[in-house]
């Protein structure tokens, strides 16, 4: 199924929003306005966008330590995210969560997660709710190549498979787990080699091609909505940013990174080419979109800067529901 032109413009806007959000965060972290452990999604924008563009608000996603892109793609508000990264009381978590714990349950965002492999079991639970309550909602479980080795991920895929839960396991294979190349952490090249182990479909796509991601995700999601159970969808990509902001990146060369920023690799440039070719957008349209995203970012930063810090009295609030 092909997205409508309108949807494609929306997808482009989402990708640009993620890109500009992350660039802004990079800058603010490097200059000290933002602290804590921050992992950027730069270069991987097509995955979250391609997948989440086919979701409903009532669908859920579980995310990772590298969560900003997933959250934005699922509708997360950049000003509330920004305020959270600034540790302000207006932030998504009132300043208590930070980058690794942003959530918006009303939008179906089960939260970023500081534990590699923490998300997959949670995703099965949300999918159980979807199935149990007789909806055809689905759950997307994002995880990395590194996380694919974690036992919890295996357990979750097995549980989803045996219970035919409506989950799509989206393996974001950026070829590296923190600083360790994929070839040093698993012998397989494609994570879909593991799908047969759960008797579920495994699909591998170019994760920098948003159209390919969209198409594969649409299919996997339809499969899930029809009650046919989970799919393992691998999206091959590259992490343009270091593992975290501040990573000296001794494990790769600047040239490698540069190559992935080129027009034939960068997911946004590639999508621009398609949009131009199909005459859906002009260069001027891109500029307009970028400007509007820039404005959104500036406003988000301003919102964050102008917001108050949490009061120390909030330290003990919200440990329990009373």
């Amino acid at each position: 199924m092909n997205p409508t032109n309108e949807k494609m413009v929306e997808m482009y806007t989402t990708m640009v929003t993620i890109r500009k959000f992350e660039e802004k965060i990079y800058e603010l972290t490097a200059t000290g306005s933002i602290s804590g452990f921050v992992h950027l999604y730069l270069g991987e924008e097509a995955i979250a966008t391609g997948v989440c563009s086919t979701l409903r608000v009532a669908d859920y996603i579980s995310s990772t330590h590298r969560g900003h892109g997933h959250l934005i793609a699922k509708g997360g508000k950049t000003n509330l995210m920004m305020a959270e990264l600034f540790a302000k009381s207006t932030g998504y978590c009132r300043g208590k969560g930070g980058s690794m714990h942003i959530a918006d349950l009303d939008l179906g965002i089960l939260g970023a997660n500081g534990i590699v492999g923490g998300g997959p079991p949670l995703a099965t639970g949300a999918a159980l709710t979807a199935q149990y309550t007789d909806t055809d909602n689905v759950v997307i479980c994002f995880f990395g190549d590194g996380a694919s080795n974690q036992g919890t991920t295996h357990e979750a895929m097995n549980l989803a498979s045996i219970w035919k839960l409506p989950v799509v396991f989206v393996a974001e294979n950026n070829g590296v787990a923190e600083f360790t190349p994929q070839s040093d952490h698993q012998c397989i090249q494609s994570i879909t080699e593991r799908a047969a182990g759960y008797d579920i479909p495994g699909i591998s796509v170019d994760g920098n091609d948003v159209m390919a991601v969209f198409e594969a995700a649409t299919e996997a999601i339809a499969h899930a909505r029809q009650g046919k159970g989970p799919t393992l969808l691998e999206c091959r990509t590259y992490r343009i940013a270091g593992h975290f902001v501040g990573d000296p990146e001794p494990y790769r060369s600047a040239d490698d990174v540069k190559a992935w920023k080129a027009a034939d690799k960068d997911p946004i440039l590639r999508f621009e080419k398609i949009l131009l070719e199909k005459r859906i957008c002009s260069q001027a349209d891109f500029d307009t979109i970028k400007q509007s995203v820039d404005t959104e970012m500036d406003e988000a930063v301003k919102f964050a800067q102008d917001s108050p810090e949490p009061d120390v009295s909030e330290l003990l609030a919200d440990v329990y529901t009373v």
């Binding site: 349950l105 949670l122 639970g125 149990y132 357990e155 440990v319």
Partner: protein
């Protein structure tokens, strides 16, 4: 009112809650068709079907995690961890996810789930099937830790736990499953966080948990023959801990012994003893004394295991040591 076992009381609580609220569901290894390895969930799958009473693969991280994920999206799952000793393969989902979600998300989540599990020594089940690990859970903000000692308490507390909007660890002593008690037939709740004075007395306060409550009652009966009148406080939940009831008792008796089955060192009894030592210092006529298990894994041999578990005789000795 019926006389029933603690196991039956738990079964009854689960049944009543499954009947009351369609959002309640059970999941765990062999909780369904077989009715639980200890028989606690017997008959529930037959009554409520496979959708609501679910057998799972042996993947405790996924099971506890599924309960957390289901809870945060609107259900009220009750997951069974077959033995508390197995928590080592699933702890993350409980202590980093369930416990912290609400706080990390700035209050915008609730996680109404229960993890039921059985614990305790006495069955010759050895080092990996006999532990009492309540202290581990107690130290984690965001979860509640409940530990009933009677069928009556078990039923009322479990119903409260299921209705609670927070993750609750519900600890069932395997040797208590077949202990009997009077239990109302209807549904009722006992608030989590209220200790119960299981025996009134004026000479010494004895705080005891789980299986130790019964042992303490027997010891108290014998001690009363010797003129020592012991008051027994059962916290019933360790987190939240009802400090007031314990302190009130100590302010009356001026003496405290804390008896727990867990390994004593760095156990739940340490918190109770330290808390009283701090908040009732001026009321104490003798050192707050703990009696727990020695610092070793649990041995298989029932001879050694009996030596490991605190018993009536040791309770009596400990009480006398500070009179």
């Amino acid at each position: 009112m019926s006389t029933m076992t603690l196991s039956a009381a738990i079964n009854d609580a689960l049944k009543l809650e499954l009947e009351r609220d369609p959002k309640v569901l059970l999941l765990g290894v062999d909780v369904g068709f077989y009715g639980g390895v200890m028989g606690v969930t017997a008959g529930l799958q037959a009554q409520f079907g496979k959708k609501r009473v679910r057998d799972t693969p042996i993947t405790e991280s996924a099971v506890i995690g599924a309960a957390v994920g289901a809870a945060v999206t609107g259900l009220r799952p009750v997951a069974e961890l077959m033995f508390v000793d197995f928590i080592g393969v699933a702890l993350d989902q409980l202590f980093n996810q369930a416990a912290k979600m609400k706080y990390m998300f700035g209050g915008k989540a609730k996680v109404p789930m229960v993890m039921r599990t059985c614990y305790g020594a006495g069955m010759g089940a050895a080092a990996q099937h006999s532990q009492s690990l309540e202290a581990l859970f107690m130290h984690i903000p965001g979860i509640k830790v409940v530990m009933p000692s009677t069928p009556y308490d078990a039923k009322g507390l479990l119903i409260s736990a299921i209705r609670d909007d927070n993750p609750v660890v519900f600890l069932e002593h395997k040797m208590l499953y077949f202990s009997n008690g009077e239990v109302p037939d209807e549904s009722y709740t006992i608030p989590i966080g209220n200790a119960d004075v299981k025996r009134e007395g004026k000479d010494l306060t004895l705080v005891a948990t789980g299986q130790m409550v019964g042992f303490a009652l027997n010891a108290a009966a014998k001690l009363s023959e010797e003129g020592i009148d012991v008051e027994i406080v059962d916290p019933r939940s360790l987190s939240p801990l009802d400090e007031d009831t314990i302190l009130e008792s100590v302010r009356k008796t001026h003496r405290l012994v804390v008896v727990t089955e867990e390994v004593q060192f760095a156990g739940s009894g340490a918190e109770i003893a330290a808390m009283v030592g701090e908040k009732a210092f001026d009321h104490l006529d003798a050192p707050v004394t703990r009696l727990g298990a020695p610092f070793c894994p649990i041995p298989f041999s029932s001879k050694l295991e009996s030596e490991f578990i605190p018993n009536e005789e040791k309770i009596i000795k400990t009480v006398k040591s500070i009179m």
